[in-house]
Every structure is written in C-alpha cells, then in structure tokens.
Symmetry: C2
Subunit: 318 residues, 2 copies
C-alpha cells in the first residue's frame, strides 16, 4: 500500500463535514482503499466479480446434498445470467466473469491422496492469476463446486487445527448424519495427506480444489496490481487462508465482505483477523456476499471522495 496516499486520505477524512468518526467503518474502508490505489481521493471504478467452478472427487463420499452435475448446470446458469451473482454484479455495476476449471475431470478424492497433482494445481492457480482484469478497481472472487464446503473444511482444519467437527457445516443443506460424515471425511483427508500439513500451498493442493486454487491465484495477482479484494464466504476464505499462511500479510489488500451462515466461517474470519462488513445469514457462495458488500465500499468511497470539507461548506467544526 501507498503510505503517502493513505496519510493524505486520513488528513482529508478529518476535514469532511461530519463529526469525527461518525461514518464508522466507512471511514477506515475508504482510507484502506485509498492506500491500495495510491490516491488520496479515489474513485471505485470497474469492479470485477470472478466465479471459478470446479468439481470434487470427494463427492464420491456422499458429502453433498446436491449431485455433482449441478456444478456444470450452474455454470450454464451463470453464463445465461440467471444466478444470484449475476443479479448482484449488475446491481453494483460489476463486470462478471466465469471460469469452469476442467469440470469433466474432478479433483481426486482427497481421502485417497492429494486432490491435485502439481501440474493441475499450478494450472488452476494460473487460471486465477490470468482471470484478473488489471484495469479493475476492485476484485470479488466467488466459487461454485458441489462438495467444496467439505474441501474448505479440510483446508481450514489443516491450517488451524482443532477437531474436524469444528470446521464442517451444512453446506447446501446436509442433515445431521451428513455433518457426521463430513467430519469423518475431513479426518480421513488430513490423515491421508499428513505430509502436506506444514505448508499453506501444499494444503491447498492436497485438500483444496481447482476453484479454491484459482481464487488464491486471483487474489495474489490482485495484490501485485494493487487491486483491493473483497472476500466472500467460507470457501473463498479457506483459499485465502492458504495464501496468508504461505506469505504472511498476503491478504492486507483484502476485506471480508460478509460472515456467512456456514458454521465455521466466523471462526475462520477470526483466524484471518478480518471483521466482516455484512452479516445477513447468506450461505450461497458464488461470490454473492462479497458482491453485496461492493455497495458498502462504493458508499464509503463516494463519501470520502465526494463530501465537502468544513472549510468548503462553511460549516463550524464544533
């Protein structure tokens, strides 16, 4: 981040026609954004939403309430403009791109070995890296992948420890027996890939999925381009956490868009040190929570860059 732009934004913030701090988190958001964009008075232009889709071999264990075919069906729905994320991207004026990653070749079942070999993993990372529009002023990454809450739970458990039960949730809607099964599958996955557990990227390769790897690649690229990122839900944050483990501070350019209803997302956000902007019991994925938070960021930046100062408006400072 650009310290001089950040400092100039802080100076501007206290001159605006409002009591000090009265815009709450909007103020810190605008200053954070100004720092990353290198502009004391930035505009938020060309937000980009990217949805990455992948299939998961671990669905063979029966961990999802929906059949794996739904991943591809939903990709067609994204392309046709019929999904929730399409509507949200449109409301907030975001470009939306969809990448389907080798849906006909699901990752390997991670209870039997690594989900991806190194070539597959690097290809997924590169797909995410290349998907970022270098001209975008903001990036929200989302995902679709039947089975991927189980993958994300395994990733989170590998990164942060604790019991598998602490990290699994209902995903698209499994019942109590499904939760027990998901926990067992996570335990089996960690046991089978125990040699991966010391390294963030190895955890992502062995327990993640192509769409998780692609999200991590896109976030890394955004960092290089100084494009701020809004994180989405549990799966997006699990991918992000691998990046953060590999390179501490790698998520300084990211804010948490929301806290989802998926059980362990709040705990994952705490581990990342991110306070969510929204808490609306959403649990859809697709980048939907992040996309909704674009509106909050647009509001924050519009206030920061558009408001009059006390001097300009002739308002007494109290």
């Amino acid at each position: 981040a650009d310290d001089s732009a950040r400092s100039a934004a802080k100076v501007r913030n206290v001159q605006l026609t409002k009591p000090p701090g009265a815009l709450g988190r909007l103020e810190e958001l605008a200053i954070w954004y100004a720092g990353w964009r290198g502009q004391a008075r930035p505009r938020l232009e060309r937000p980009q939403v990217i949805v990455f889709a992948g299939n998961h071999g671990v669905t063979a264990q029966g961990v999802s309430a929906f059949p794996a075919d739904v991943t591809e069906q939903m990709v067609l729905n994204f392309q046709a403009g019929g999904a929730a994320i399409n509507q949200l991207a449109q409301v907030f004026g975001a470009q939306m791109d969809v990448y389907a990653l080798a849906l006909d070749r699901p990752t390997a079942d991670f209870t039997a070995g690594p989900a991806m070999d190194e070539a597959e993993f690097l290809h997924a990372i590169a797909t995410g890296w290349d998907a970022v529009d270098a001209q975008a002023g903001l990036l929200a990454t989302g995902e679709m992948g039947i089975g991927n809450t189980t993958s994300a739970a395994a990733v989170a458990c590998a990164l942060f420890g604790g019991n598998a039960e602490d990290w699994v949730g209902r995903g698209t809607g499994v019942d109590d027996a499904g939760l027990v099964l998901k926990a067992k599958v996570v335990r089996d996955g960690l046991s089978r890939n125990s040699n991966a557990l010391g390294d963030g990227l190895e955890i992502l390769r062995c327990l993640g999925g192509r769409e998780l790897a692609a999200m991590a690649g896109a976030m890394a690229r955004a960092r290089v381009e100084r494009i701020p990122v809004i994180l989405d839900g549990f799966i997006c944050c699990a991918a992000a956490a691998c990046l953060d483990r590999a390179v501490p501070g790698a998520l300084d350019h990211a804010v948490a868009g929301h806290r989802s209803a998926e059980a362990a997302h709040g705990k994952l956000l705490e581990k990342l040190g991110k306070e969510p902007l929204l808490q609306l019991d959403m649990r859809l994925g697709e980048g939907s929570g992040a996309a909704l938070a674009i509106g909050v960021l647009q509001g924050a930046i519009a206030c920061h860059s558009g408001m009059a100062t006390f001097a300009e408006a002739g308002v007494s400072e109290g």
Copy 2:
C-alpha cells in the same frame, strides 16, 4: 400488505436456483417488499431519501458538542450536494429532498414545557406527510438537528421507561460530563412533561422536535401509499417508535437499515422488534445508515425478481 403477492413471492423464492434459504435475510426482505408493493416479482424503482432539519430549544442546556448554527449550515451543505447523504443517495440512485423546518424558531426547551404547541406539531407532521413522493418505490427518512439525540433520548425514555442514563449517548461527541448533563436534561424534561407520557404522539410533541415529527408524518404517509421504509438511526427510530405506540403495527412497512454506534440504538431496535441490516458503527444521522441499506434491498430484490428458476435453468434441485 398484499397477502396474495406475498404468498406468490414465497412460492417463487423456493423455485430460484439456490439451495433453500441460502440468500438468508435477502429472501425475507424480497418477500416483505413484494407484499407491500403488491407484486410477486417487484422492481425497486425511484427510492427517495428525505432529510428533515430542525432546531432544538434544549440546546440552551449545553447538550451538544456543536453549536446550533450547524443545523442551518448543514442544510446548505445538503442543498449544495456536499454531505455524506448526498453521496450515498447518488450511489444508490435515490432522489434526495431536504426540508428545513422553521430553523429560525427552535422548539421550546422541553425542560421548561412542551417542545411544540399543537399547531407547530401538526404543521411538522404535515410537512413530512406532504414530502413523500407517492411514486417512490422506497423511502428512507433522515434528520439533522443539533441537540436532537437529547430529544430522542427523552422520547425513548418516555416511551419505554428505565433510567435516563440508559437512553443518552455521545451524539456528535460529548464527553463524560456531557453525558451526565444529557441524562439530567432528559429527567427534567420527563418530569416537566409528565402529563404527556401516556400517549405516543404527545410524547413526540412535548419531547421531540419538528424533524422527528416530520419523519413520523412521512412514515405514516408511506404506509398509506404502500411505500416500504428503511429506518435510519437512533433519532429516526425514536420518532418511529412514537408512531408505533400510537398505532400498533404502524411500522410493519419498515425495516431497520442499521444499528448505529449511538449507545441506546440497539435497545431501541429491540423494543421495536427490528433486526438491523447493517452494523458498521455509523452515527452520523442524515439518513446515512438507511441510505447505505438501500443497496442491500436492491440486491435482495434483484435476486428475487431476476434469478432463473430451477426449471428455467435446467438445474437439478438436489
């Protein structure tokens, strides 16, 4: 609200391409909005933000961190487009209107008697009533008035009881001594107007202010026009609570836009039975929290009305 439109919206909601309930509060918001608009698949068009400004005789007690002149200075800022609410209204495509209510004649100091006589009160209510654009698809009411957190605290304490200390907060930024003073002023006001305490509208007349009365008038008019309302912060909700006391259910067409950082706003929302959409530590007033929540409602309605159904998209229902 229109029960058939609401029922039809519920039927549509479960057909949309997402796991049941996965959009969380966005789903209930869209169904609520559909009911009030009488359309199973509504559009959110022409949102209106109205800011009412008033001056308060109680500022003579020294309850505010800013001088009373700031009310008029900020009205000029609203008219020139330089305030936070101007930027937020613009981001979310809302029409913004400003009404300054007799700023040169502050209300009477309520520690000495009723803040308004009946003619003044009814005129303020009527100003609010007339300010609503009957063609608007949504209303957010906001306010500006140096001293009005003290007025709102007195109103809330009169409506809901408890100690004055439970209802006062720092407003634009008073210190600890200021808080003690505000609580004393609230106690004095309730004591001096004790004959008003049994009636919601009398509480609003005797302890409120012109801008609070105008907000209540606007909310009542919106109800008649079936225009859903987003409530703003502590002062807006205190005005709304008077209406709710006078006519139980009078706020069924309203949602809470946010929970502000003003100390007692959370408790006031609990009394109203409203769960806030946003919690971003904002405490500016002007309708700023409500305006930011317009984006959430726009997202909810866009998803509800724009998404494909499982049948339309050829997606398996799991």
